[in-house]
């Protein structure tokens, strides 16, 4: 600690003080700890394997998400059918770079980045792509990349239709972490929002989209 010119003790700033406390707490020779990683860093199935698609579907359904299988050329019809059934033909918002034909025929609002939260609250649903999906945990991850848009899009509307390509499906959490770029804004989604706060009764759909529909694209 340095003394000020007038003889009174200078008050150290919080950062130096906390750092000094930590160093003092650890002593001169903090223990050297080796990190052991004996856990699985990949699964037995290759990304996109049929077993993984079945597993992902099973886990998603377990958490009350809907799952529809589709071939690549059937995506527009599948998405259109879901929107018709679940959004009642209402307006849906899409990221600026979502493939145009995915929502052909729907009443689409393309996000230009200027839509307010209140405006998003008035649309019936949102359609996005995803970055990666984890079969074992029934998780899809959005990273604001291609076909996904900013985070508010997939949050405020009450229906989220998410299109997942088979090759985006990995088996384990470590495989997903390895595929993601941490500096992008990431949202890991496992089923629709839920609460168990009242007597531990699970209620699906609280603040996020109350309905999550996954379109699993194969072939």
């Amino acid at each position: 600690m340095s003394a000020a010119a007038d003889g009174t003790a200078a008050v150290p700033d919080a950062r130096s003080e906390v750092m000094a406390r930590i160093r003092s707490a650890l002593g001169e020779h903090p223990p050297v700890v080796e990190v052991t990683r004996g856990y699985r860093t990949s699964g037995e199935h290759r990304p996109g394997a049929a077993e993984l698609l079945d597993l992902l579907q099973d886990r998603l359904v377990d958490y009350k998400a809907g799952v529809t299988r589709s071939t690549a050329d059937q995506v527009p019809a599948t998405v259109g059918g879901l929107l018709e059934r679940l959004a009642g033909g209402g307006r849906v918002v899409v990221p600026p770079d979502l493939p145009g034909d995915w929502t052909a025929g729907a009443d689409v609002l393309r996000d230009d980045g200027a839509l307010t939260s209140a405006e998003l609250d008035r649309v019936a649903g949102v359609v996005t792509a995803c970055a990666v999906a984890v079969a074992e945990t029934g998780t899809i991850v959005l990273d604001a990349g291609s076909g996904q848009g900013r985070r508010a899009l997939s949050l405020v509307p009450d229906l989220h239709v998410c299109v997942v390509r088979a090759d985006q499906v990995v088996q384990t959490v470590p495989e997903a972490v390895a595929r993601l770029e941490p500096r992008r804004p990431l949202t890991w989604i496992s089923g629709p929002s839920a609460t168990s706060d009242i007597e531990l009764n699970r209620v699906e759909g609280v603040h996020g989209p109350r309905t999550l529909e996954v379109v699993l694209v194969t072939g």
């Binding site: 707490a25 650890l26 804004p185 531990l200």
Partner: protein
């Protein structure tokens, strides 16, 4: 043992500031627990809840073939992080700053509250939305904001129930676990209309209907809020990435919609690398809610132009953590990832509930963390917490990062006895009792006398609810019965029975 009394030298670890925040209750654990045990509604709510979560956790943990390897990785990662804390916090600060965020440091609760209050005031906002966060409960941030004229809205359903009920959380994960559905309906009916949410006159107590009422009540708040306050489950030093793990989507609302985001985080929450999240994202949800993965996990790194909050702050909080770090045994309590699995398996917690612990950190982990954060003086309220355990070890078995809670409890009990001795509170009743036993055992005559005298205890066991048990002994033995009842002494001693039966 190290004690921190008086004015510490600069750089010496310091306990949390007394009088600010919620790390210590107003009465000792046995006193609070005795009252909680008398509340049959509370006991049945908590018993049902902990049994349910225990079952769910066991099922989803059982399906992970490498669970023990993940636990060991979690343990070594946390131990390694603590040993490298200065370097990792420095790196985290650098990365958050490089990504457009601002990092603040707080020595204690009062300083953290002042920083957050100043940041909110600078935005001109008079309200904030909050994501459930243990750190901000610990420092009493809501009260500090209220005092500055800023309304702090809790947005987690359970936290909302607690806040509207003018109540305190009783569980880390499900803070309103002590309330049943009809109580929750009454709270909503009483409080929400005054806050601008009209309720239908025929509102039932169905959980779905109550949850939808909360959704409607909070949506308006989310859409207008300019400032959000969160905690963080993890902060990655390597990349500056912060993470919040949640279920309802209230977290995503807070982390995405407002312009300004302020995160308050204990310094022990940092993890070294991005890859390390692959361990904790597997350990936490399965241990916590008993789910393979929680519905939503958000991760953000500083500011992303055009997406989410454009002003991002991180407040790094000490508030007694460095004092915990200074204890070579006790420091393991800092490895806690706040899953609450130890609460759900604890036979003591299951019967007393969370309020009896007096701190925002209840249950086994609270019993080791709270007294270390506040310090034990020999007669502080939190001195009773290391004894709030039967040392059965169930907490250690389920801990996802293998914190050896029983060993820390034993160590803290030893430290407490030393602290009591140092403050002149020895000899203890136990010591006096042992001395008396030694004297009475020196001759058969004295032993017989002592046994007959014990029969007087039958008088103490009379009456009360038909159960013949001794609930309190006179001083100096009252300390013993403070935490346990004694059976009524028998009418006849073994020696007397032996003599009588031998004669017949």
């Amino acid at each position: 043992m190290t004690t921190f009394l008086g004015i510490p030298s600069v750089g010496a670890p310091v306990r949390s500031s007394p009088g600010v925040g919620h790390l210590q209750g107003s009465e000792s654990f046995p006193t609070a627990a005795r009252r909680a045990l008398g509340d049959s509604q509370l006991r049945s709510n908590i018993g049902r809840a902990t049994t349910t979560i225990r079952g769910k956790r066991a099922r989803v943990v059982g399906e992970v073939p490498d669970w023990e390897e993940l636990r060991e990785a979690g343990r070594t990662l946390k131990a390694s992080t603590m040993a490298r804390l200065p370097e990792l916090l420095g790196q985290l600060e650098e990365q958050v700053t490089a990504a457009g965020g601002t990092v603040h440091w707080a020595r204690d609760a009062a300083e953290a509250n002042a920083i957050v209050t100043r940041l909110v005031q600078a935005t001109g906002a008079d309200e904030v939305v909050k994501v459930k966060s243990m750190a901000t409960q610990e420092i009493g941030l809501n009260e500090a904001l209220e005092a500055a004229g800023i309304s702090a809205w809790e947005t987690d359903l359970a936290e909302l129930i607690v806040q509207l009920g003018h109540d305190l959380p009783s569980h880390i994960l499900v803070p309103a676990i002590h309330r049943n559905r009809s109580e929750i309906r009454e709270i909503f009916r009483r409080e929400m209309p005054g806050l601008g949410t009209e309720l239908p006159p025929d509102l039932t107590d169905e959980p779905r209907e109550l949850a939808m009422t909360a959704r409607r009540h909070l949506r308006r708040t989310f859409l207008r809020a300019q400032v959000a306050i969160s905690g963080a489950n993890f902060a990655v030093a390597e990349t500056g990435t912060l993470s919040v793990v949640e279920s309802e989507g209230n977290g995503r609302m807070c982390l995405t919609l407002p312009r300004t985001l302020i995160t308050v985080m204990g310094i022990e929450k940092v993890v070294p690398t991005w890859q390390d999240l692959e361990v904790f994202l597997q350990l936490l949800p399965r241990s916590s809610t008993g789910e393979r993965m929680n519905p939503y996990t958000s991760m953000w790194t500083g500011v992303t132009p055009g997406d989410g909050p454009q002003e991002v702050h991180l407040v790094l909080l000490d508030n007694g953590r460095t004092a915990v770090l200074a204890d070579e045994v006790g420091r393991e309590a800092l490895h806690c990832i706040r899953c609450s699995a130890c609460l759900n398996v604890c036979p003591v917690y299951e019967r007393t509930g969370g309020h009896a612990y007096g701190s925002v950190y209840p249950g086994p982990i609270g019993a080791v963390l709270s007294p270390q954060l506040t310090g034990m003086t020999g007669d502080a309220v939190n001195d009773s917490l290391p004894y709030a355990s039967s040392l059965c070890g169930a907490c250690y078995d389920v801990c996802p990062v293998k914190i050896d809670i029983p060993s820390i409890l034993v160590e803290l009990r030893a430290q407490h006895v030393e602290a009591a001795a140092a403050s002149g509170r020895l000899p203890t009743p136990e010591a006096a009792l042992m001395k008396a036993a030694a004297v009475s055992m020196t001759s058969p005559f004295r032993w017989r006398l002592a046994q007959r005298a014990s029969r007087l205890g039958r008088l103490l066991a009379r009456g009360r609810d038909g159960q013949r048990r001794i609930r309190s002994l006179p001083p100096p033995l009252s300390g013993w019965t403070g935490t346990r009842d004694l059976p009524e002494p028998p009418a006849e001693t073994f020696r007397e029975s032996w003599a009588r039966e031998g004669r017949s």
